[in-house]
Symmetry: C2
Subunit: 352 residues, 2 copies
């Protein structure tokens, strides 16, 4: 049993005593203890691939802040790496694949990877769950089929992913072939995480917002729906709550709310009051403080957090989060202020 189940209750739109909070990239470079563990490990992938180290860094932010959920320490690109594309992280750079998957031959050669190649992820889930000892829920995650395709086509990160957009327009057939394989792989991957014990899963569609409205629907949202429809119940036979996050997807919340997801992540550009009003009866909403607010001062952090808590309101179904990942320059003291403010103000609002 989970002792602090506020996060899971909020995802299910059940009442909670306060608004639960966790932060995208809460285990990461803004924490000195993370940098120390990473320096000792030698690389990011070593951390992700060693269950004991992944457990250590997953728990670090929880030791500092009374966060309401832990999130598996891993990377969205583990899945294409398991497809044999040769993932590496050069120092100070983004991810790189040894091979690009940007033509008919490369896409035809792809297959859903053997999940045993991702055993280190599921082992990390088991180890983290043991270490958490029921304190808070553990979130599993994956990149969306389209977002994985973005990195696979470009061979790494890229400003505006031009080759992805070109392929989407010129060869929608190839694009669909690629994302269909990714969708099967992502579903299998999340099902193994569920079997290993995660309490909720989140799909990160970091780049869906680059697409035209029609292409978003066909290439990203539809494949996320396919993934959601394939998810299994957990060992107790219960449906695991799901969160869908398309960065830049504020225009498409209507379609996302009808995707089958229990909750939607909102980036910081979305008017959360309006979104709660329009979609709060159908899905929980997670968000949506601009992560750069955490680079200002404690007073500003508290004020901006307060604004979002009031905009989101007290009706069940709000999980506080940032609108995107926490940035490395964030002072941990500001995170402490944020968590304290969210808990305190949201408790007070429920007593008013």
């Amino acid at each position: 049993m989970i002792q602090n189940d506020a996060f899971l209750r909020a995802l299910r739109r059940q009442p909670t005593d306060y608004t639960p909070i966790w932060l995208m990239r809460q285990a990461g470079r803004y924490l000195p203890e993370y940098n120390k563990t990473r320096a000792t490990a030698g690389s990011f992938m070593k951390l992700a691939m060693t269950p004991e180290l992944a457990t250590e860094v997953t728990l670090q932010p929880l030791a500092r802040f009374p966060l309401d959920a832990a999130i598996l320490f891993s990377d969205i690109l583990t899945v294409p790496d398991a497809m044999g594309l040769g993932l590496s992280f050069a120092a100070g750079e983004g991810p790189k694949f040894a091979r690009k998957t940007d033509n008919e031959q490369a896409i035809s050669a792809l297959a859903v990877p053997d999940m045993n190649r991702l055993r280190y992820v599921f082992d990390a889930v088991t180890t983290i769950k043991k270490a958490l000892n029921g304190h808070v829920p553990l979130i599993g995650f994956s990149g969306s089929p389209f977002t994985l395709a973005c990195y696979m086509i470009e061979g790494g990160s890229s400003e505006g992913f031009p080759n992805v957009r070109k392929l989407a327009y010129a060869r929608p057939d190839l694009m669909k072939q690629l994302i269909h394989i990714n969708a099967q792989a992502v579903a299998a991957y999340l099902n193994e995480q569920i079997a290993a014990g995660v309490d909720a899963v989140m799909i990160f569609d970091t780049w869906g917002g680059l697409l035209s409205s029609v292409a978003y629907q066909n290439l990203s949202l539809d494949t996320m729906k396919e993934v959601l429809a394939r998810l299994n119940a957990n060992a107790a036979g219960e449906k695991v709550p799901t969160i869908l996050f398309t960065k830049g997807g504020g225009q498409w919340l209507d379609g996302m709310a009808n995707s089958g997801a229990d909750a939607l992540g909102l980036d910081w550009t979305v008017d959360i009051a309006q979104a709660r009003q329009r979609f709060g009866g159908k899905v929980a909403l997670q968000g949506n403080l601009d992560p750069l607010v955490l680079l200002t001062d404690e007073k500003t952090v508290a004020r901006e957090a307060d604004t979002i808590i009031h905009a989101a309101g007290v009706q069940p179904g709000h999980v506080f989060n940032l609108g995107h990942g926490i940035v490395p320059q964030t002072p941990p003291e500001n995170v402490a202020v944020l968590v304290e403010t969210v808990h305190r103000v949201s408790r007070e609002m429920r007593l008013e």
Copy 2:
């Protein structure tokens, strides 16, 4: 009198025989003749600051393609340059200012520039109007007060403009002071362009989409409204049609449609069929092909253009354009196919 007034009629939501088209950055690096003129001139700013050269490059795309409007060749950063911030363009890099306007002292020192320092822009308008000889309308433009502030605060271009967002949250008072000066400068600048003879004006809010919904309203949309409210009639005593474009603003079209602008620019992520349905009775809409479609092949260009023309429909008030500026790698042949397709298909649709 303007011979081809399809563009102006569409902005006023009056019937036209076909859908008019022009392209953001239609005079630019994808044209060999532009590169030749620029190489001879020596620099981008030399082109912009020499009315004869600005006229030459403004007319180049019209000599190749039957476009329905010309747009003044200039840069959105001429206004902060006239404020004395020292604009330069290093080869292969973006714009740079000699000084950043990112603190109380620098912001307090700012003033609306003497419009005589921008005389070269208004002279270019006069020269271009003479050269166009009433063939098609000429569009004048400015950056939005907020978008100008972005470059001024960062001292140039920047991924995600982090210092802008930090200032907006931590010191909204300073941010408002800065954009208020910009709003006055932009209004004066557009009024001088109108006096010199432009037939329509467009406000480019390239970075408003980086803001939270509340901050967009307060810092970008409200100041654009202020600019629109300050615009004068032209020499004939007529209101000049206005276009407002916030890239990434698809969520905020409702507010934009109530800004007083005659038309809204749409980036390629917006569902134009839905936008026409919701806002077409109030404003004209301009857009919205992904500029990267022009990097594919002629068949794809024609198909994607056809899709947008059909989505936008035949009711008055659609100007075809890209969802952002044309990219330098664009083959001019694909632009020819685009213009031909838009004109032909939209004519056929009106005869059906």
